[in-house]
Amino acid sequence: MTEGLIGQERPLVTISLRVNGEPVEAVIEPRELLLDFLRDRLGLMGAKRSCDTQVCGACTVLLDDLPVSACCTLAYEARGREVLTIEGLAQDGALHPLQQAFIEHTAVQCGFCTSGMILTARSLLQDHPRPTRQEIRHYLKGNLCRCTGYWNILKAVESVAGSGRQRGRVGEEAT
């Protein structure tokens, strides 16, 4: 399928949104994907290009707190909304409890799935502060990891879910 030529009139739209708490305004083509917008325009490289077809979760970001695959979401869809990428998770230099837990449980090997995995887990814990192991598995099944075998990821998420630090955190976020 060929595309229009360079220089041909293309529709442009202006969007304003918040990314990691900061207001962002940009003029884009409606077809621009959220992943390209974040990586190429904003230089936020935490969301990764991997499957290109929303089955692996490596490009997961939170759109109004819900996980979406940025590779198959239009940037335009994010207009007027709040996008959280992995770069925005730590606050005031302090790692989020999930980030800390992923380090402590060696839930990280090559690291390519890590951003998406942590963001999806963050959404889960907002939803269910104390998920069962089954709920964790179910919620994270769209985030593939080829290195760890997932066991340490399960343990990392469980450790945050079971501790007071996460509940405090969610409370803070709600205000």
């Binding site: 220089g7 230089g43 499957c51 790692l95 080829r146 290195c147």
Partner: protein, 757 residues
């Protein structure tokens, strides 16, 4: 050693700060793409790039004639064209015929569509057995046989004459995809000095450098390969992917060029795990003593050699299992076909042959009416045994301990019931559970007479820190932590004072390929010995200053203690510098010499051993198989980094689970059906079983602190442990992977009600 230490790269990876190749940007960056043939076997008759060149935004279009140097690349045999020229042959769908560099990626994509290519199709060679037929079309002019690999021990006729029971079976394993999360990406740029720099996440940076240099007709020192972080490798990032293409385009345009594969291209192009057909014939005495083993393997090496010969050699030498067998004959035919090339993949051929021989051993045990664990124990390699390649094992054979400990744990978890008898799940008559067990061994290091060496440089600084440099690759396995721990141990430094710099052909000496589970052993030793040399140099300096013998200097936690004085290491380094001494050392470590196959003697300098038991639950109506628990014992010589080891075991088991139950890279008549990740069924977190690791330490004398490899052995016995468990649960013997639930349901139904099937 042996302490729990978090990964040094973990903070960057959980915050998004970690930079992989695609995360780099340069001013003026162009985007390069390759046009893939899309036909499996053909002559390229015509190629017209004029329209692509005219497209605004296109900066360069290159074809084979534009390659200044050698046309072909390859890790062993240079048979893989960087670009196929007009009049030349396309040998698989992923062959590249033209390159485009453009201002934007979408323009490059559009330009590819404007290139006109015409092909004259040729008959396709689609599997290795067909490839060996006398009338098969030729993939390469030299013939379809890449290598006939032979293992001979004793007298096979004599062996089978002694046998009282003979088992003869054939097994099949499919092509497999690494499915590393990060698709391949290379960025090349010219420097002001006229050199070429290539940023890439590669498992073998020095081999990249040499292959790039040859194609560009440059001396190797004009090329610098800078390793970025690697989003998973598993053997799939050993061959050239976009490195040469990016360099050619950068050379042609004078601008930086990024060649990023999308997942479709990645699936199509890079080498896979060999599909195999393996026949196993075992001869045994009634008491279970193996007397003869004969195997015949066909390996689908695909269109180009890659590491096919090496992989299939490993498959062959391991094809009779980690057993004492007096009479062995193994023949392997590594064949060229028109499928995507096959190369290195965690397990390196042993994954396939282990499935075959461990299935056969279970079948044999049943034939003999013997406990399958007992049959293995009786024949297991031990110190003093001679392998099928004639190697006398003199140390570090922990197989029996692995078997004993896994068996004990399995029996404990089975609560006194026979673990190999099906147990109906209470309240669910359609679900049954059973255990299965398998053993494995896997060489550490290249072996077979290949020089196996690694160089490392260690430098101390006046701030009391140290830097380790080597070009080995961190592919997620945790090498940085291991090298950091070794240097810290040798230099008596706190961990955080040791930095590790990897994979830059200008700054780091050659650590050799990141393959064959060799990095901890070979590069680990290089780092250990380089650290030792530096420490001795510091000791010598202080010894002279305080007039004591060098052995009178002690190193403790960043301090040198001499004559009652405590000198901070940084201060000692300053003293050395003041005296004009270099506080650094490079050590080129040569692993113990090995012998080529067929010459007897030590084919490998160390082997890791493992035993795994898997508990499965099978739904007899749907054919679904769930793996509930896996007990995994690995003899790794000595544990250096417990967390890293645990990660290698859990990840390895999960990969073995995918190999057993879900994964298959489907190619039909040379055309790739699995051209999207959604079509490759890699396991998600839903399928993760409970993994019970057991560490067995039988140190190997020359390994760093006794350590040997773990990266591959952890994954190898999982598959047959699962398929043996499926047999014990259902009575259906798996001879072809993966265990398709459709097939399994049908086989179960056939046994119950043949009229239904």
């Amino acid at each position: 050693m042996g302490h729990v230490v978090p990964r040094p790269d973990a903070v960057a990876k959980v915050t998004g700060a970690a930079r992989f190749a695609d995360d780099y940007d340069f001013p003026g960056l162009l985007h390069g793409r390759a046009l893939r043939a899309g036909v499996p076997h053909a002559i390229l008759k015509r190629l017209d790039v004029a329209k692509a060149k005219d497209l605004p935004g296109v900066v360069a279009v290159l074809t084979a004639e534009d390659i200044p140097g050698e046309r072909n690349h390859g890790l062993v045999i240079h048979d893989w064209p960087a670009l196929v020229g007009v009049g030349e042959k396309v040998r698989y769908v992923g062959d590249a015929v033209a390159l485009v560099a453009a201002e934007r990626r979408e323009i490059a994509t559009q330009a590819l569509e404007l290139i006109e290519a015409e092909y004259e199709p040729l008959p396709v060679v689609s599997d290795p057995v067909q490839a060996r037929q006398p009338d098969a079309p030729l993939v390469h002019e030299s013939g379809n046989l890449l290598k006939h690999i032979k293992v001979r021990k004793g007298d096979i006729e004599e062996g089978f004459a002694q046998a009282e029971v003979i088992l003869d079976e054939v097994y099949h394993t499919p092509t497999m995809e690494h499915a590393f999360m990060e698709p391949e990406c290379s960025i090349a740029r010219l420097t002001a000095e006229g050199r070429i720099e290539v940023y890439v996440g590669s498992q073998i940076p020095y081999a990249d450098r040499d292959q790039i240099a040859r194609c560009l007709a440059l001396p190797p020192e004009k090329v610098r390969v800078i390793g970025t972080l690697i989003g998973g490798g598993f053997g799939g990032k050993e061959d050239i992917a976009g490195q040469i293409h990016a360099a050619l385009l950068a050379q042609a345009t004078g601008r930086p060029v990024k060649v990023l594969y999308d997942r479709h291209e990645s699936l199509l192009v890079h080498p896979k795990r060999h599909a195999t057909q393996i026949r196993v014939r075992l001869g045994v005495k009634r008491d279970g003593t193996l007397v003869a083993a004969q195997t015949e393997l066909y390996g689908d090496s695909g269109a180009y050699a890659s590491l096919g010969e090496k992989v299939m050699t490993r498959a062959t030498t391991h094809s009779t299992g980690p057993y004492i067998v007096p009479h062995v004959k193994a023949d392997c035919y590594a064949m060229y076909t028109n499928n995507p090339p096959s190369g290195a993949f965690r397990g390196f051929g042993v994954t396939q042959s282990c499935f075959a021989v461990e299935s056969a051993m279970d079948q044999l045990a049943e034939r003999l009416g013997m406990d399958p664990v007992e049959l293995r124990r009786k024949n297991a390699l031990r110190v003093g045994s001679v392998t099928n390649t004639g190697q006398l094992l003199t140390e570090s054979v922990g197989l029996l301990e692995c078997i004993d400990r896994v068996e004990a744990e399995m029996r404990r978890l089975s609560g006194g019931r026979d673990p190999f008898k099906p147990q109906v799940v209470p309240g669910a008559p359609n679900r049954v559970r059973a255990w299965g067990l398998a053993v494995a061994f896997k060489n550490t290091g290249l072996g077979g007479g290949a020089p196996d060496k690694a160089s490392a440089e260690v430098e101390l600084f006046t701030d009391g820190t140290a830097e380790v440099r080597t070009s080995s690759a961190e592919i997620g396995q945790g090498l940085v932590a291991v090298l950091q721990m070794i240097a810290a141990e040798e230099l008596s430094l706190p961990l955080e004072k040791v930095r590790v710099l990897l994979s830059d052909t200008d700054l780091t000496p050659d650590g050799g390929p990141t393959t064959a589970s060799r990095q901890t052993y070979v590069t680990g030793n290089a780092v250990r010995l380089a650290s030792d040399v530096v420490r001795q140099a510091v000791a010598t300096t202080l010894a002279e200053k305080y007039d004591v013998p060098p052995e009178g200097v002690r190193f403790v936690e960043g301090l040198a203690q001499v004559n009652g004085h405590s000198v901070p290491l940084g201060e000692a380094v300053a003293m050395m510098k003041a005296e004009g001494r270099e506080p650094k050392a490079t050590y080129e470590y040569w692993a113990p010499k090995t012998q080529p196959l067929g010459t007897g003697g030590d084919m490998h300098f160390a082997y890791s051993f493992a035993t795994q038991a898997a508990e499965v639950e099978v739904d007899l109506e749907t054919g679904e198989v769930r793996v509930l628990r896996v007990i995994a014992a690995n003899d790794v010589g000595r544990v250096i980094n417990p967390l890293g080891l645990q990660g290698q075991i859990e990840g390895g088991v999960m990969m073995g689970l995918g190999n057993a139950l879900t994964e298959e890279f489907i190619v039909e008549e040379g055309r790739v059906i699995t051209d999207r990740l959604a079509r490759y069924r890699m396991p998600s977190i839903v399928l993760t079983p409970q993994i019970i690791p057991i560490v067995v330490e039988h140190p190997t004398g020359e390994g760093p602190y006794g350590a040997k490899g773990i990266g591959e052995i952890s994954s190898i016995p999982t598959t047959p442990a699962i398929t043996n468990a499926v047999y014990h649960a259902t009575g259906v013997r798996v001879k072809r992977l993966p265990v398709d639930q459709d097939w399994l349901a049908r086989e179960i139904a056939r046994r119950e009600r043949p009229q239904d099937v």
